[in-house]
Symmetry: C2
Subunit: 223 residues, 2 copies
């Protein structure tokens, strides 16, 4: 029984990897980088995207694929800032997006006239770590309200991510959260991780984030 | 392929329900209520348990089954307050505990000399909603830092829970979180939900929580 489940799971994962390779090829053809935003529920993915669309939307053509479990709350919030929004509906108790959903969603995106794609994954620190979506990189959001031990408890997610964005930095004075400890724990599971330190509410640290995104778009164009 | 996966999944779930019934029978025999704590990562399950063990540990014999994904951080933290701790190791990318793990963990618990069992599930608002562990009730923790829309986005978890414990209430003055909106969203998906309003840091609201637990233990003994 257990063995059978694992076999089926492996075939599903292998198929996902093929489709992720298709996504990656398609994005490379159009020289469009895609970033897969992963995090706990409520860590601030949608708010970071709202701010980013507001600030960079005039300079970069940004598409967003958003994967809510049940509602279209996130899609509603983001559609105020972009007309390049595709909602991938996640059904049947699934806890992550998969590459097939991204491939389908990208059919709705005019990639020839797009500079950058964000994928807003399901809020979950376990499942999305195992699913390649063909993204340029996974970016994990790490809310300062969640405690410093998240990388140790969810190592795969931090290992699979290239960047970690600390969010809700404005709350630090009211928390017992120790930033040095959090960074050390993150680097212990993934020494290659780069950090951003942001508050989408106050705007602190967002300039570095925007500069990073513009740099990634420029680099993809040169590739 | 998809159909095959679903068939296997259904058989796994059916087997889980049988094992959950075994857990429920075993706990009923000993008149011990078990509460399954579910939430996002970092919402404060372990801290609430630490405080509860500190405060009630002298009056009630409390066992804890904790399910960390990768570390034994939570087990280490809790073992300072109880010698009735069993760690269920969650491996292979699983995002929840299952009834078999609880049944196995309960072999380590002297139920004849236990008043109350807590199950600290994996921090995840999707997967644990689908798995009956034989508990008396699921209790969802809802951190005020996560945004009011969690019940709408993760309705199954709030539907499956009998109680919602708001955590980190001490941060409310620094957040845009609207409690009335959060409660309304929770009651919309589950009108039978009862609430607690707590800060494990300041101790606010914990007296109601302790009184509830003592009431549940007394009720189970009368049953």
């Amino acid at each position: 029984m257990a063995v059978r489940t694992i076999e089926v799971r492996e075939r599903v994962m292998a198929r996902n990897d093929e489709l992720a390779a298709d996504v990656r090829r398609l994005l490379a053809e159009h020289r469009v980088p895609a970033f897969n935003l992963v995090s706990s529920p409520g860590s601030g993915k949608t708010l970071l995207l709202e701010r980013t669309l507001q600030e960079l939307g005039g300079r970069l053509r940004i598409a967003v694929i958003t994967g809510d479990v049940q509602t279209q709350n996130d899609a509603d919030r983001l559609s105020r800032y972009t007309d390049r929004l595709v909602q991938a509906v996640v059904t049947g108790g699934a806890c992550h997006l998969d590459a097939r959903q991204i491939l389908t969603a990208l059919e709705e995106v005019d990639l020839a006239n797009t500079d950058l794609v964000f994928i807003e994954n399901v809020g979950n620190l376990v499942c999305p770590a195992s699913w390649d979506l063909g993204e340029a990189a996974k970016i994990v959001l790490f809310s300062t309200t969640e405690g410093e031990d998240k990388p140790a408890k969810y190592p795969k997610m931090f290992q699979q991510s290239s960047y970690a964005v600390f969010t809700k930095m404005d709350l630090l004075p009211h928390l017992t959260f120790e930033m040095e400890k959090a960074k050390a724990q993150a680097l212990e599971v993934n020494p290659d991780l780069s950090f951003f330190f942001t508050s989408a509410r106050t705007g602190d640290g967002l300039d570095e984030w925007y500069a990073f995104l513009e740099g990634q778009v420029a680099e993809a164009r040169r590739a």
